[in-house]
Amino acid sequence: MALLEITDLTQRFGGLLAVNEFSVRLEGREMCALIGPNGAGKTTVFNLVSGFYQPTSGSIKIGGVDTRGMKPHQVTSLGVARTFQNIRLWNDMTVLDNIKVSQHYRLGYSLVDSLLRTRRYADREKAIDHEAMELLEFMGMRDLADEVPPNLPYGTQRKVEIARALSIKPKLLLLDEPAAGLPSTDVVELIKLVEWIHKEFDLAIWMIEHQMTVVMSLCQWIKVIDFGATIAEGTPEEIRNNPEVIKAYLGDENI
């Protein structure tokens, strides 16, 4: 069964055709990219996958489950995590709390448990706390646990956001422009981090990225869209030499 199967996905906003008959199939454990010029509809595809919009037509299946009508938190609990173009951490919460609150889908206790502090509550809180600390330890951020995000450098905030996404144990990780706003030294580190994550965690990574160094050095397979429509797909080598792609990015030279 495919991990992610998108068939003929179409999204309209009023008169704007944001995504047009987009199809894709991920089997699991891939590392691939979605690229295209600004405003091509890349983030819209991610928003559709994570359940933030309901598609006008077409279907999205995650692990064989059709996500139509699901709320984002339900999609997330199917094993899809994502990061955002502009970092969206909870800024008044510590890094540890950022990760713990993301465990809502598997809290395993109810409001009453939290008010009465039952045994179940104590056990689950302990387990969640423990696992969150383990993850931070594993990612080498243990000493950041009690910091709040605004006190951290931008690159570290990105890393925290990725850690938060990993904390829900995703089978599919969506990275929306992970390198945006990073200085070039940090980009090198990011590439290493993503590679490491792909190796250590059992998951597929799908990213939107403008920096071609990132895309070309990480991904086995790339899909290019423009004005909502797919214009090319293939290996980095094929994409690099595809005339359609060059036209979309640089404009038609004949004009």
Partner: protein, 308 residues
């Protein structure tokens, strides 16, 4: 049947014009500062009192001026004086209470709370200064009574209705055609970029409060002429209702505020006429709540899409 229909329609239009004039003030301030100026209803009350004191002073009650000015001249002087003085109060409150908080970067809600308390200060300050006895507004000009389709209409009612439409037209013109109006809209888009573009933020804000408060003053004057009994709490309820009307119309859009005001008035008058006036608030607010649940950003408000 038709007569009552027209009569009620005119009553609704008249009530709606007060709501609309006040709602426009809420809307202007909100549009520029994203601040719910909860003191605005009480500015309306202050406007009515200022109108009262202007009119009685001009009629020679305090011996400052000779009596004997004709009612029309008194009215002609009272209108601009009221608007000017009321806007002075509005701008003063902005300066002393809201602006310092804004400059300190306080959470927006703290400014809202300050506005709420400012409103209470105005109400009770008035009560303490002038006492609990209600003031009755003098008759300045003789009422002419017209008949339209069997319904009677006083000239004052018509004046209120026409004024509100005229003010709306003027405001629409200011906001869309004049430089300062465009600056106001620019501020509501991006407060940080506007000073960079060479637009003096402070002047825009003062102008906004000036416009909003002078309209509230005008509404106060018209209200006092039609319902000539003033008390310190007259503004609170009307103000809250006008605010709700502004939001149902779509706060931040002056067409929305204007239409919202009339919508609320029509609802209230209809409910009072068909059921009973005790049920007025209950039913009309329930309907407004229904509208907001159906269109969460009001009739004219644009749905805000969160950019991810």
């Amino acid at each position: 049947m038709l007569e009552t229909f027209i009569q009620q329609g005119i009553n609704a239009l008249q009530l709606g014009s007060y709501y609309s004039l006040i709602a426009l003030g809420y809307c202007l301030v909100y549009g520029v500062l994203l601040l719910i100026n909860f003191a605005h209803g009480d500015i309306f009350m202050v406007g009515a009192y200022i109108a009262f004191f202007c009119a009685t002073a001009l009629m020679g009650k305090y011996g400052v001026l000779d009596a004997g000015m004709s009612g029309w001249i008194v009215l002609a002087l009272t209108v601009p004086l009221t608007m000017l003085l009321t806007s002075g109060v509005g701008v003063f409150i902005e300066r002393v209470a809201y602006r310092p908080l804004r400059l300190k970067g306080a959470n927006r809600l703290y400014v809202v709370i300050t506005a709420l308390m400012m409103g209470i200060v105005l109400e009770y300050g008035n009560l303490a200064m002038l006492g609990a006895t209600r003031k009755s507004f003098p008759t300045l000009v003789p009422r002419a009574i017209f008949e339209i389709g069997g319904a009677t209409v006083t000239s004052l009612k018509l004046a209120a209705i026409f004024t509100s439409f005229a003010v709306f037209g003027l405001l629409q013109w200011i906001v869309t055609r004049t430089k300062i109006g465009m600056a106001m809209r620019a501020v509501s888009f991006d407060k940080f970029a506007v000073p960079l573009m060479g637009i003096p933020l402070d002047i825009v804000i003062i102008f906004t409060f000036f416009l909003g408060s002078s309209m509230a003053g005008l509404a106060g004057l018209l209200y006092a002429m039609n319902f000539p009994v003033l008390d310190p709490f007259m503004g609170a309820l009307v103000g809250w209702k006008a605010f709700i009307a502004a939001v149902v119309g779509g706060i931040g859009d002056i067409r929305g505020a204007f239409i919202g005001g009339f919508l609320l008035a029509f609802l209230e008058v209809t409910v009072a006429a068909t059921f009973s006036s005790e049920l007025r608030d209950l039913i009309s607010f329930t309907i407004l709540l229904g509208i907001l649940s159906w269109k969460p950003t009001g009739l004219f408000g644009k749905p805000r899409t969160t950019k991810i």
